[in-house]
């Protein structure tokens, strides 16, 4: 962590004579290491970005983008990637030791928590323009009206289907809940389930439940409303039909993708980040559609997902300014398009999104879904994590036997008690 201890060790070696002094030296060394750990020197031309691009491909794409932006701005940009679940806790620890990186890429659902703690700088004061960014995506990167996070790309969920299986069974792509239920029932055969989705613990399952909850008019502030109960009952019905595997409650979104790729599911609810993996199997012919809605003509409201680039409040305004310029470059139209084409996500910028649609027409449905998508933290901000945990527990209880109503009532109680 720090380069200083060896120097201290050298000095200590010269002094050590008796047993006592050598132990004293050890204590000095420990104290020295602890002290030097606090004062981290920042190199004036080196800027660090902390993100969760631990996958080789994402890490490389980010490194390339950072190299281009660094060249353009005359600085060196270093990338530090940690697992997604650790970005928040790591950033908090760095905040308390005053060693925050210059830019942190948060998952958009976590950004409000960090912003609420006073950890982020308003990007507009750093000169970032939002003229070309759709309002929904500006909100996505905002907390209490302040624009803290610039999204490069956004994603949402869509219905992926195996074209060959649907054609063979003569099943039309479903657009309503009834059609989806019928189609899933028809497509279930032998070892193959009609549909796969994730109702697993952690955020994955909640992310997948939101399009059903929202499209039905339900809301995260009122978990035991009839609309949410109905959405959960719909999931239960799919499970009771045998169209969903019983393992659904234990699957992450990556597991769902594996099942779909293995031919164990004819359709799945999933996001564009799986496309890279899906395309490795050449014999698989998949297409995507919007997530079916309760009634024909209703809006399909999906969850808006993705990460935002933020500038943490380090107190060094000079560096924050430059960090703002780096964010602007990384989130520029050109970089967004490159990143989106690599990662199969939808560019946040309107102009970039238009170009993206031309380049990947097969993901058109996704771009439509994004346009109507909703941010999970828009209403609850930092309170989302508590509600999310309560909701996970609720749909898992309901899918394993409890009535949806009881499960959601308990979830609502748990969410409002805000333990």
């Amino acid at each position: 962590m720090t380069a200083h201890p060896p120097v201290a060790a050298h000095r200590a070696r010269g002094r050590s004579r008796g047993a006592v002094t050598s132990f004293a030296a050890v204590s000095v060394l420990i104290a020295g290491a602890a002290l030097t750990g606090c004062a981290q020197q920042r190199d004036s031309d080196v800027y660090t970005v902390m993100n969760s691009s631990t996958d080789e491909t994402y890490h490389r794409w980010d490194a390339e983008a950072m190299a281009r932006c660094g060249k353009q701005l005359g600085v060196t940009i270093e990338q530090q990637s940690v697992p997604a679940s650790q970005v928040m806790t790591k950033a908090l620890r760095m905040a308390s030791s005053k060693s925050l990186p210059d830019i942190v890429q948060f998952d958009a659902s976590e950004m409000p928590t960090f912003a609420d703690a006073g950890g982020l700088v308003d990007l507009r004061t750093l000169g970032l323009a939002t003229d070309d960014v759709p309002e929904g995506i500006v909100d996505f990167g905002s907390y209490k009206g302040t624009y803290y996070g610039a999204a490069r790309s956004v994603n949402t969920l869509a219905l992926f289907y195996n074209k060959d299986i649907l054609d063979e069974a003569g099943v039309q792509v479903p657009t309503t809940w009834d059609e989806l239920r019928e189609a899933a029932k028809k497509l279930t055969e032998g070892n193959r389930y009609g549909l796969a989705l994730s109702a697993g613990g952690a955020e994955d399952g909640v992310f997948q439940f939101t399009p059903f909850m929202w499209s039905n008019g339900g809301d995260e502030t009122d978990l035991d409303s009839p609309q949410v109960v109905e959405a959960l009952d719909y999931w239960k019905a799919l499970l009771q039909d045998g169209s969903l595997s019983k393992s659904t409650v234990n699957w992450t979104q990556a597991d769902v993708n594996d099942q779909f790729m293995a031919g164990n599911a004819a359709m799945m609810i999933n996001g564009p980040w799986q496309v890279e993996t899906l395309n490795t199997k050449k014999s698989l012919h998949w297409e995507i559609a919007q997530i079916p809605v309760p009634e024909a003509g209703a809006d399909s409201v999906g969850p808006l997902g993705g990460a935002v680039l933020t500038v943490p409040n380090t107190g060094d305004t000079g560096r924050e300014k430059t960090a703002g310029r780096i964010v602007a470059c990384l989130a520029s139209e050109k970089e967004q398009l490159t990143y989106a084409l690599n990662s199969w996500m939808v560019p946040a910028n309107e102009k970039a999104a238009a170009k993206w649609r031309e380049e990947v027409p097969e993901l058109d449905a996704l771009a439509d879904q994004v346009a109507a998508a909703r941010s999970r933290t828009a209403k609850l901000g930092a309170g989302w994590s508590g509600v999310s945990l309560a909701l996970q527990s609720a749909f898992q209880s309901a899918l394993t036997g409890q009535s949806s109503e009881t499960a959601l009532q308990r979830a609502q109680q748990r969410a409002t008690s805000g333990n």
Partner: protein
Amino acid sequence: MTTSTVTAVAPAETSGKATAPDPGRQRLRRRLAQWGFVAPAVVFMLLFFGYPLVRNVVMSFQHYTPKTFFTGEAPFNGTDNWSSVFQDVLFGKALWHTLVFTAGSLLGQFCIGLALAVFFNRRFPLGGVLRSLILLPWLVPMVVSGIVWRRILDQDTGVLNTFLDTVGLGGQTPWLTSPDMALLSVILVNIWIGIPFNMVILYGGLQEIPKELYEAASLDGASGWRTFRSITLPMLKPVITVVLVLGFMSTVKILDLILALTDGGPADATQTLGTLTYQNSFVELDFGAGAVVGNVLILISAVFAVFYLRANRTEGK
């Protein structure tokens, strides 16, 4: 922890026996040397055990939120954290699951471990090879075992159910997907992980038992079971205590295995104190509540440690 301090003092006492001209100075030097030997252990313990422990206790009485990391302010809120944790239904559930999990795991690990240790204590061809093969689960990182077992136990596509199906024992067991089964499945996986540790230590203990005792017993015409009960078990008692205490300590705080297998689900059926403190502190970022659950865990371990020390003391006398 305490034993390391004691052993550090012992050599210091025996080493300072050289004769010296000035007994007063000599005694002082010896004293200093003694403290010198104790100091590293004390410093280490204060730094890495004492400080975090005190901080954790203090934190459980504070309103400690993400804001605290910036402002450094964590106002004391009395017993708010404690009462909110104790009123949470999940806490009672998690406590119960932790106890069941620990008791079940220890029982399974110990019994199978002991049986295997006794088995391998006899010499037979390939015994050594087999014994080292049984160590494998111990060498695999916990998270890796968790992920592999999650696949094995999958209800539809898992190897275990497929196998049960082919041998005609059904094959629809909802290992990890039913709230009634999940805790049992997690315990079974943990038993699998813990067997090597128990076997190795107990095997070591068995090797220490003098062969003459068994010879004498066979001359007296004792049966196999009688020999086991009257010689093996009593002679193994100190080792058994160590195995159970170490096993308890590593089992009661279980986190990684459960996160990898079920993530506390389905429907909180496998939430333990470990996962609850993780969820409070690192998902909800309510560090005060997380500290409360952490303290409860420490308390449980401490109670057990006291029992262990007392048992050891009576043994020493």
